[in-house]
């Protein structure tokens, strides 16, 4: 487990001590690391011109229990961001002690959350976020929709956005007024809709209404085929993997915050001035505690 110093190094250092046939196998593996990740053991053996048993023997020779372990190692190596956390999580759940179990759960949650966040800043998502900013900057009004568990992410954006732009509208009707804020929405506006499975009807309806009014929609959601992402002008698909029954909105929140940061950075000094003005105004309302 934790002792897994890089197997590639191990293979190189032990190379001299291996039998000729094993060297042949080891050499092929060193030359074609991706084959380990992607092909089967027998297929690799065939490619290396070695019987399967040699490969198994090689495994034991370098102190690896099973081919699975070896393959897993190379698979996670191939993905710069290891995704095999889920499996490890399942393993750790088997521990018996209570506090121990809690600790393991939290560790596993930590890894998952980091995965979720780093995935949200992949090159693809980054360029989409930049494009999204341009769309927001050119919009007349910016409608932000998020219901249920997605509400925090929507709120976060709306709250921060309003500090430097006054054309942001958070669509969160109370007392059954949801949707009222959408009156007048049109092709020159933009809607940012946040939502993951299970999709809340209100959100989907809002998106559909936006489309019917020819208003482009930016979808912050969990899948390319989520009902929110359908016909979206831009899709920001973020991971929401979670150890609990509840999807994680950490990455979504992070993305929303990043959008704000980007908008401010692109807005330059003008944006900062507006923020200062907003804070002054809040001071008048005695919102903050003084130091």
């Amino acid at each position: 487990m934790g002792l897994q110093t890089d197997l590639r190094e191990k293979l190189i250092s032990d190379y001299a001590k291996l039998s000729p046939q094993m060297q042949k196998a080891a050499r092929y593996i060193l030359d074609h690391p991706n084959d380990v990740a992607l092909r089967s053991m027998r297929a690799l053996a065939r490619a290396a011109n070695v019987p399967p048993s040699t490969v198994t023997r090689l495994m034991t020779a370098i102190g690896v229990e099973t081919w699975q372990d070896f393959r897993d190692h190379y698979q996670t190596r191939l993905l710069d961001q290891p995704a095999s956390y889920a499996r490890r999580a399942r393993e750790t759940q088997k521990t018996d002690n209570d506090v121990d179990r809690d600790q393991h759960l939290l560790e596993s949650i930590c890894r998952t959350e980091i995965d979720n966040v780093s995935d949200a800043y992949s090159p693809d998502l980054v360029s989409r976020m930049i494009a999204t900013c341009e769309a927001i900057e050119n919009a007349r009004q910016v409608f932000i929709v998020g219901r249920g568990a997605a509400y925090p992410a929507a709120f976060q954006f709306a709250y921060a956005y309003r500090l430097f732009c006054d054309n942001g509208v958070l669509v969160d009707g109370h007392s059954g007024t949801f949707g009222d804020e959408l009156r007048g929405i049109g092709r020159r506006d933009i809607m940012i809709a946040v939502g993951a499975k299970p999709y809340i009807r209100d959100t989907v309806r809002a998106v559909e209404f936006a489309h019917s009014q020819h208003c482009p929609v930016i979808a912050v959601t969990d899948s390319d085929v989520s009902p929110i992402a359908t016909d979206a002008h831009s899709k920001l698909v973020v991971r929401d993997t979670s150890q609990s029954f509840f999807q994680s909105f950490t990455a979504a929140l992070s993305v929303m915050q990043a959008l704000v940061a980007l908008l401010v950075a692109r807005g330059g000094p003008k944006a900062l001035q507006r923020i200062a003005a907003a804070e002054e105004q809040l001071a008048v309302f005695d919102t903050y505690l003084e130091d």
Copy 2:
């Protein structure tokens, strides 16, 4: 390249025409493309919670002869990706200076966010979170307070918590009723207060009121000496470093979610039953979109 129209696009465009079960499979594939490259068809089917036959049927439905072909496509996609990273980086550095600056900002935000999150799961915080759970489990009522930018984190917890416990109260008075919910708070209750600098007066007042009524407070905040953490029963100090004028509540949100996950895990089957009941109730209200 001729026949290699991107299978991912094909999957998205045909999605609506697929049968429900195939959609389930297609969706899992869209959300976990690497699983196609690295795992077996049966393993993927298991992960997608679909019988193997559905995956085969999906293959024929989208016009792919065999699973091998499909897998090959995703494997080459996986291998080509690192190359496109570098290419895009080079392109953008030469052509567009503005985009480059944006990308760097986002990369830096990414690192910061990951730092914030991983810091929130330090051994110290982990044990505090476990202790916090015990306190919550023993409380009569659980009051959750968070104003302004901290509201999302508070809301997130309250929303999820209420799905399996009915003694949670989100203190978010609208129309000037903030604080009304605190009536009757006492020593057997507990308050979870979320807030970072600048501290919002309402939150601090709520915490002070809780103390005056001998109600223990759990502080999710940015410093050991934050006004919210003063005299707290338990302090969950999370980082909120950010590149923008605005603090990041990503880590705070993550911690709140983790608390929920922990409470559910410790609650065992009973908690799960309650969640099921809550979801049924939401179904009655027609909240969710059906699949």
